[in-house]
């Protein structure tokens, strides 16, 4: 092959360059949010709005339904499948789903985007690379009084 050595060497460099991200991150794989339970304040007698398995897959749809029901239809109470009522408010979520460690987020940067936080939403959303903007307006954990 004409100039074969150079071609093969260049190819090797090229492939090494291309696969650099894979090798450099090898073994450092994001293990995923495992310590989720630790970021939930265990309040006695508290249960989630819906079963955890349902919430895990459908919380985004449920939040959208909540938003539309509350803002547009004036329905401020959600009665779940077990017949238990919840106030339609993000505070119904962060009441439990937060470490209660952060100060009120009003006036502070978005905690969901703040990846150093160990709050419930953040740990999953960072892993999944999802950036919801709830907290740019709504008061986050610890902000609520009701």
């Amino acid at each position: 092959m004409y100039k074969g050595g150079k071609i093969i060497a260049s190819l090797i460099i090229f492939v090494a360059f291309l696969t650099f991200p894979f090798f450099s991150n090898m073994g450092k794989a994001n293990a995923g949010p495992e310590a989720l339970a630790a970021t939930v304040s265990q309040l006695a007698g508290k249960q989630c709005v819906e079963p955890a398995s349902y919430m895990r897959t459908n919380h985004m749809q449920l939040l959208n339904q909540w938003r539309n029901a509350d803002v547009r239809d004036g329905k401020t109470v959600y009665v779940n499948t077990q017949g238990k009522s919840f106030d339609i408010s993000l505070q119904s979520c962060v009441e439990c789903h937060s470490t209660q460690a952060t100060a009120t987020t009003t006036g502070v940067s978005n905690p969901v985007l703040n990846t150093s936080s160990d709050q419930f939403c953040v740990s999953c959303h960072t892993y999944a690379s999802v950036k919801p903007t709830c907290w740019s307006c709504h008061a986050g954990p610890e902000g609520a009084t009701k």
Binding site: A69, K75, C137, T145
Partner: protein
């Protein structure tokens, strides 16, 4: 190996059909799954037992109760503090839900040519009129502002794209735009009410969030009887009685928007 045109077309057709059909099946299944998940929960939405309901919320502003600067300030402050209204410190960026304005900006236009000079000198409490035919709602391209069943013209901040058509459409200047991030300019934030982001229009909502909890609007509570709030469609309500027995005026009725805020004038010696 060579294929003739007929074979080529047949194979291409088969592959296309397979591809399209396959994708339909996949998306169809996925849609079903989500739907099933959403409906499998036999949940429902309702309102709080305490919630105040009405067919047509309306407000009466009793001008005789707004005598001093303090009366106006107290009412405005009650609104500012619970709705996280920022104070940018300059009139260009100002956010107003309820405010004090002069005659020129309030009733001018359809007035009688000669009114008592006294009347023209008065300050007025003004806010969103929650019109029966709201021009802002017609102008909004995203449905972010809409009229509720109970007559309140509400805002869905989530949907507002900041086009400001509603501001141009509103003849009362009742809408304000967030040109800047309001959060640093909120004196004391109320965590129970969302703040806004830059690029969102806001206005008075007749305190829908308080009505849902069974509370009167904040300004009504703070007004010491200067603002009267109730159901205009209920003949026994206080607002209806006031409007049907006393002389009231509304702002810019010549525009046909049918405001739901009535001004009680000619009461007592004032106005």
């Amino acid at each position: 190996m060579s294929i003739n045109r007929r074979q080529f077309l047949r194979r291409a057709g088969m592959v296309t059909a397979l591809g399209l059909g396959g994708s339909f099946v996949i998306t169809g299944l996925r849609g079903k799954k989500v739907e099933a998940a959403a409906t499998s929960a036999a949940s429902e939405y309702g309102t709080s037992k305490n919630a105040l309901v009405a067919k047509h919320w309306a407000m009466v502003v009793d001008m005789s109760k707004f005598r001093s600067e303090e009366d106006f300030k107290r009412v405005v402050k009650s609104c500012v503090s619970i709705h996280n209204i920022p104070d940018f410190g300059n009139p260009k960026d100002e956010i107003k839900w309820i405010w004090k304005d002069d005659y020129e900006h309030t009733f001018s236009g359809g007035e009688n040519e000669y009114l008592t000079e006294n009347f023209k000198e008065l300050p007025f409490t003004v806010m969103c009129n929650h019109c029966e035919h709201p021009p802002c709602v017609k102008a909004c391209p995203t449905g972010a502002t809409f009229k509720r069943e109970d007559g309140i013209v509400a805002m869905d901040f989530h949907r507002c794209i900041g086009c400001r058509f509603c501001m141009g459409a509103c003849p009362f200047g009742a809408r304000s735009f967030n040109y800047r991030d309001p959060r640093p300019f909120i004196e004391k934030a109320n965590p129970d009410f969302p703040t806004r982001t830059p690029g969102v229009v806001e206005k008075c909502t007749f305190c829908v969030e308080r009505l849902a909890d069974g509370l009167m609007p904040a300004c009504v509570e703070a007004s010491n009887g200067g603002l009267i709030f109730g159901d205009l469609d209920d003949p026994k309500s206080k607002v209806r009685k006031l409007i049907s027995t006393r002389f009231t005026i509304r702002r810019k009725t010549e525009l046909g928007t049918q405001p739901s805020v009535y001004y009680l004038v000619g009461g007592d010696e004032h106005a």
